[in-house]
Amino acid sequence: MTANLDPLWKAVVEGDTACPDGEALAKLGSLLREQSQCKASDDFAVRVLAAAQSSGDESDLIDAYYDDGDMATVAAADPALGKLRKIARQGAQPPEPVDLLPEVLDNLHRQSSRHPLGDMDKVTRLRVWATVIAGHAAAIITIVILQAQLFKDVELPEASDYVVDRKDPSLYVTISSVEETNNPEQLTQKMSEALDDELPLRWSQLRDRPEALFLLRQNDDLKNLFRKFYGTDTCQATVQASLSWLRYQQQENGAFHKEGEAGAGSRALATHSLALLALLADGYNDYTATSIEKAVKHLRQWVDADGKIVVGSEDVLRDVAHGMAVLALVESAVLLENETLFAEVERIVNVNLPAQRHAIAGLDGYFLLAVETAEVSGMNIHADDLASIRGRARTGIKHKDAGNLGLMALTRYLYGHRDSSALKKQIESLSGLLPRLDDKHRSDPLSWFFPSLAFREAGGKDWRQWNTALQRSLLPCFRYDNVENVAWVKHQQVQYADNDVFATSLVLLNLQAAHRYIPLARSH
């Protein structure tokens, strides 16, 4: 063998020290041989045999159990196998009941209504589009006529007994129970007339009518009707004074705070986005238009050339700010009806969406709202990213605090799962987490925003209970300037806030919940 001639081999294997470093190599060989010895070779052989035997037995049992269906016998012989099957099956039970049919049919319907158009020749396609456009025009004319007639026969309750007394904000908490004195069916009827359609069961049904989602913001009469109906008219003076205060805070460059006053990086982004969201919730109108346009321009400075929102480095608010900014941009794009902005925001949503896919849902609900709004408004959102963020929002939440529960409940309403038993449980749980000030007399509007939107959908007693507690907690936080007729919230009175614009805007979002979005139908 040639190996025998190799001095290196001879040194290591045979211990021949003739070659250079022979002693060291011989020692290495000896050491390796020593260490590779099995100390109890007899036991090892026995163990291998036993393992092979037991492995064979176990394999047979597994086959008998799973493939032969001989479960009872096998489970008696090896109870652990039966138990493993049971707990693994239990663990695979989805936490909530499943009802896929509406979504499946909805998807199929959408697909089937899309494809034929692509197959048509040009003339037929033109005819179809002409019919669609004529139909829309007719619908718009009908809506205008109906709106003119809308409030003639609505019996609104008497003016609430709410007293505006700026010296004693606690008086702001007299909540009128308008819903009890008004007729919900009548309100639903009026909404249907304004929409020229039934109220939607879920947001996806609004896909071709983005204007409907913000109908309450853009229509002052409907907005006031809803404020009364949901008992938020009682704090309307405060809301308007706060919006005025926000506008006063706005700088020439569109920012709602002076350089450095709202902290660095994402904190500044969150502050600016929240203020813009509060203004947008009032609608894009003569009163808010200039501020909104300037604010949008300023917000776009956080977007880089690729469409990615660039926030500061490490900051606990980073992800939430991200969602808030995208939501503000999407709502602006829809309300301003600016095609360039619309296209730009569509790109921003898609560029930023993948980053959210693996996030814990939590308060990334802002991003979820942004994406769903974008989807409704007709933006082309990447389907996989959309599915993923939806999944995260509904099931990726582990904490059962008000914010997370509220988000889970809200998503169920938005997706048309009003009858879900899980939703009922969530609303029940939220009813036990009604807003109240903490030990340091601070409110927590960040956690209450999603529950406020969810309870608005729940309506009835649940909403009244939540709304009463919400206003009792939030309204005493306001400071008032009678000369300028403005109101704001000191950040020391709001958890997680470090500037007054952030605090005031967040509180406002909660108080605007009643008219933020079109309500969804309460029954099929």
């Binding site: 597994i62 652990a80 196998l81 663990g91 695979a92 989805p94 896929l100 049919l101 998807n107 993923s388």
Partner: protein
């Protein structure tokens, strides 16, 4: 007496009864199909989206379905392929995720919030679920697929081999390994 799956597939081919047949099929299989995906991804909504995809694909391919194919097996073949697609897309998207940038201490606002009842919510049931989730996720993908189909969907090796397109012997060995791993990982739960 309820109609057979094959009869439902046939009815789906007719324009008249297609929607009703689809509805029946969805009602019949939605829970187990969502459960199948849930055991893979542990997110109900993602599982529901995937299950929806399967029903939609079955509907769209209804004219191509052949009577010789068992409907349930056919459905799970679609489901398995849907899952593979999903995993591939997820893997691609992970490359651009910002999660990695967050780092171990990348606290977010939601993490800083006091979760008053989070401890209470960590019931033993949730703990067990988390343990199972962890143990199943540790299985290699092939073993996981076989185990879920056998254990949760009550499929025999032959049927699993048809769904996954692998030899029956491979199904068998994967099943043995999966069960051994899970028995070991969940020893305290299954042998108490």
């Amino acid at each position: 007496m309820s109609e057979s799956d094959a009869r439902l597939m046939e009815r789906m081919r007719d324009d008249d009864g297609a929607d009703e047949a689809l509805a029946e099929l969805v009602h019949r299989y939605q829970d187990e199909l969502v459960g199948y995906f849930y055991h893979h991804c542990w997110q109900q909504m993602a599982a529901e989206e995937l299950a929806q995809t399967v029903f939609i694909k079955m509907y769209q391919a209804r004219q191509r379905w052949q009577q010789t194919a068992k409907v349930r097996t056919y459905m799970y073949r679609i489901a398995h392929n849907a899952w593979i697609d999903y995993v591939r897309k997820e893997a691609r998207n992970k490359q651009v995720s910002l999660d990695a940038e967050r780092g171990a201490n990348g606290l977010r606002l939601v993490d800083t919030m006091e979760s008053k009842d989070s401890e209470a919510s960590e019931s033993s049931e949730l703990n067990i679920r988390a343990r199972i989730e962890e143990a199943v996720e540790q299985l290699p993908e092939g073993q996981q697929a076989v185990f879920v189909l056998a254990n949760n969907q009550n499929m025999r090796y032959q049927e699993i081999s048809e769904v996954l397109g692998i030899p029956e012997g491979t199904v068998k060995s994967r099943m043995h390994n999966a069960v051994r791993h899970l028995r070991h990982a969940l020893k305290d739960l299954v042998e108490q």
